[in-house]
């Protein structure tokens, strides 16, 4: 029985290590990083994955060993141990050291994504989150947000490539989560609290936008796209979209 239990632990370790080892090759991994800070986030993620991976193997291995060593089928009673100061200080300090090291290692990345978000200029667009859709408000021909000639597009946020894009996030109803996996960017959208976020998309392309806060029955379909265009194409799109605001409806005639 205790051998079976120990094998269960070892199988758990093997399955865990195997799934992480084969995942990237099988496409079970994150999409390729496409933003300026995505690489930093990935490096941190990789480092932390190694730390917890090794801890996982050590802890579960130790459990398996203890099950075999101290299984109930042995004769005699188990020894009651109240504690050992040296061991306890040892592992507390070791864990604290790892956590402090991680805390310092992530400081600059955190700073880049969070603290600098307000220092990248004016928002290019306002993201409006509502049950259950993303809408994006762009400045009209005057180039300024919050004026009468702003226009709103649903679903697809269009931004220029290779530039810092600042967004203002607002919610109409409940908390939503602005999540762009390819950019390694996740920021809650909180009603009543205008927040900003930013990213710099490296390559033109279309990337998924998801809501990551359970926001109601339609949460699953609260998706969108972020279309990254070269600067010239972005400007062409913007002026074309601004023109559509001046539609007089005659294009609907047959």
């Amino acid at each position: 029985m205790r051998w079976a239990a120990a094998l269960l632990f070892i199988a758990l370790v093997a399955a865990g290590v195997w799934s992480f080892a084969v995942a990237p090759a099988r496409g079970w991994w994150m999409p390729a990083s496409a933003s300026s800070f995505g690489g930093d986030v990935d490096r941190l993620f990789g480092a932390i994955l190694w730390v917890i991976g090794v801890s996982f193997v050590v802890v579960v291995g130790a459990l398996a060993w203890l099950v075999v060593r101290g299984g109930a089928s042995r004769e005699g009673r188990a020894r009651f141990v109240h504690g050992d100061k040296r061991w306890e200080i040892g592992w507390t300090v070791a864990i604290a050291a790892v956590l402090v090291a991680i805390a310092f290692a992530q400081l600059s990345t955190w700073n880049t994504i969070q603290a600098e978000r307000g220092r990248n200029g004016a928002p290019a667009a306002v993201v409006i989150a509502e049950q259950f859709a993303w809408r994006f408000r762009y400045p009209g021909a005057d180039g300024k947000l919050e004026t009468d000639d702003d226009f709103v597009v649903p679903y697809r946020l269009v931004v220029p490539a290779g530039e810092r894009v600042v967004l203002e996030l607002r919610s109409r109803d409940v908390i939503h989560g602005f999540f762009v996996p390819a950019f390694r960017l996740k920021q809650d959208v909180v009603p009543g609290t205008p927040l900003t976020t930013w990213f710099e998309a490296r390559e033109p392309g279309e990337y998924d936008l998801l809501c990551t806060q359970l926001c109601g029955f339609g949460h699953y379909q609260m998706t969108g796209k972020i279309r990254v265009l070269p600067r010239a194409e972005y400007e062409a799109w913007l002026s074309e979209a601004q023109r559509s605001l001046a539609s007089n409806g005659t294009e609907d005639r047959r």
Binding site: E130, S244, G249
Partner: protein, 445 residues
Amino acid sequence: MHPKPGPRTRSPRGTRVAAAVLLLALAGCGIDAPPAPMSYGLSASTIDATRDAPAVRKQVDDELARLFGTPQAPGFGTDATWTDLGIDPNHPERPPPGGSGELDQRQLETFLAANRDEYRKVLDRIADGELADAADAARRRSPDLAMRIDEVAARGTPDPRLVSAVQTTTETWYPTLRESAELYRQECLQCHGVEGGGDGPMSGYLVPKPRDFRLGIFKYTAVQGPSRPRREDVVRTLEQGIPGTSMPNYQRLSATQRSGLADYVRLIAIRGEVERALVARWLEEDELGPDAASEELASVWEKWRRAGEKVVAFDGPVPESTPARIARGNALFHDPLRGNCASCHGVDGAGDGPAAYKIDVRGKKQPAYVDAWGAPIVPRDLRQGLFRGGSRPIDVYRRIVAGIPGGPMPAMGEAKDADGKPLLSDDDVWCLVHYVRHVARAQEP
């Protein structure tokens, strides 16, 4: 000190029983039962009206099945009038011989681009000559397209001309009504119901309620009401969603799929209209002849066919939003003899005008109007910046000029004063548009 073993709280037998129950419960999960076949039902008002006339109820049901099929095999029943009109509503993409067709060149080009994107994998496999693989790649998105490819694949080694024909079929694919009905089942039915009655299982949890299509009334269109919507109007709602309601946008579907969904919505809306017309006719004439259903279908269809005739548009460039126009819009908004908007929408545009409410016997303020679907209706709070029919100036212009069908919002474009002169000139309407958009801008979160 050794802690004493406590009393056993759970017997091994109890644990085993609990585990067995859990296993049995879990055994029910993960079984992919095929959906039970659905059928179109009759509306509550039909069932109510034909309570004592089972023969009539059955006749209505049979006639509707003949003219509109079932949710698994929907389609307009063949009738001589279709060919006369030059339109085949079962195949909007294919004009019948001598007919004009329903979809114009611009739309067909949009679909071509959308299909090349949607069926990229399928087209790649066709280009490699792997037709069986191509059919498999198409199956989930479009079972009928997969079937067509399978037919060609079954003939063995295809010659290049056949391959290029399959490629054209894929690129110009337009969903069949059967496919659109399946898409409707997946995306729309939960709220809008099998018959489009706005009574799907989720409908009880939504405010406002999902639209009941069976009246043939659609609120946000580009046409002068109470005309039926054009396909493009329904497609636009699918593209944009309706902000401030539970209707999301469906941009994750392809343009072709959205157009197909609009076709299917038209089918079930017409079905509902014919059902109502049949019952009304029976109540009036006390009998239903063998041609009654076909005649009603022809007259309902005529309304839908003429939908595109009265598009609300403005010849000339949209007047700019200037402080002077906004000020004039403000004056018109509050002038009881001109715009008179404030009487319902309130002095601040908050939707709290006195004309829209009444005081009930308990002294409570209640909405004064009900809409065509029987639900109490309140004027829009314009300050929220939620324009359900779209926030472009032309969208607001259309709401003011054509009104909103099904509710008390009047068509100001047709409003006349005592001398028969129009209450508002075109420029007046644009002033109101800019004022309303200005009010909305000041408040939107």
